[in-house]
Subunit: 212 residues, 2 copies
Amino acid sequence: MARRPTRELILSTALALFNEEGLAEVGSVDIASVMGISPGNLHYHFKGKVLIIEELYARFESEMRMVLDAPVNNPLQLEDNWVYLYIIFEEIYDFRFFYRNLGWVFEKIPELAPQFARLLRAKEGAFDSLVSTLRGEGFIDLSDSEADALVQRLTMHYTFWLPHSDLRFPDMASKALINRGVYAALIQVIPYWSENKDGAQRLLSEFFEAQA
Amino acid sequence: MARRPTRELILSTALALFNEEGLAEVGSVDIASVMGISPGNLHYHFKGKVLIIEELYARFESEMRMVLDAPVNNPLQLEDNWVYLYIIFEEIYDFRFFYRNLGWVFEKIPELAPQFARLLRAKEGAFDSLVSTLRGEGFIDLSDSEADALVQRLTMHYTFWLPHSDLRFPDMASKALINRGVYAALIQVIPYWSENKDGAQRLLSEFFEAQA
């Protein structure tokens, strides 16, 4: 017998199915069927798929906010930046169905659009802290406009890397997808590096070749 | 009496409505109603909304390909680059409903996904030509990995700028949206500029402040 409450099992099953099959393709009945429970039992816990999605979104947002707020509250050490960039991507990847189905979500659950927009601004806040810290400590050298544009670009990158990759690299495995996404985020910082740009570029390339 | 054939009027009305109201919200009956023709008359020309969307996509792709192939066939002069970056955005903006409803489109018309992916690679080819020409003529100085990443980034930027802006700048007027999109594309090239980066940055900022 499962020890986890049914409600939690419904959420984790729905998350796995939404991520694998896509939001439009999976209904409440499919979730109940995979779990081996009756649609009535599922309905007792969640009166419809929309309520399941809303609960998953609430959990995603609260996990993401914890991650995003970290460098705003405590500036990162230089060497922690790349780990941090991984962690955000992994969090997004865990709930990738949102990023791959934004249009569907906003059409069916319009109230999630402003919430997602607020989360986007929290991402922007986190990247702003990262860039400000690197600038303040003299690691990178760039104008205010360039710093703003870099922060915007990183925010957009983290939001649309998955739908972009679905089109551009449809067969890429998940780990490579995340590696490549982090690499694409980091390589834009290289030209602003104050000292030894070539060394930084070489380190970055070697690191990611080792991961691939 | 309208002189343009009904078929063309259906397409231009559908394009305007899809752009204004969104793909999910507009049906064949709405298009017929705005045109003041009967649903039966519309059905005679297009047997369903999907066929209208497919025809609009075919026209969009053929227009975009003409634009995108231009610098591949004939390298641009330096001063033509920003006009070119505008033209691509304007083309995308004319058919913005595709970019704002990619998920909906691919769910309802799966065969458009590989076509859109091919168009994405054509965008990549155009940006690759731009960057290669600037490198070859010594205007910019960057490593092969940085050039690849810049090309990828521009491609992604042009594909996801509209859905990103819908979330981040929901009230921005269309002209400002395009200006800002071109600015965000160009400012990433500044740090690779071989000579007088500050001058290039100043020109870019002044130009876009004048437009705003």
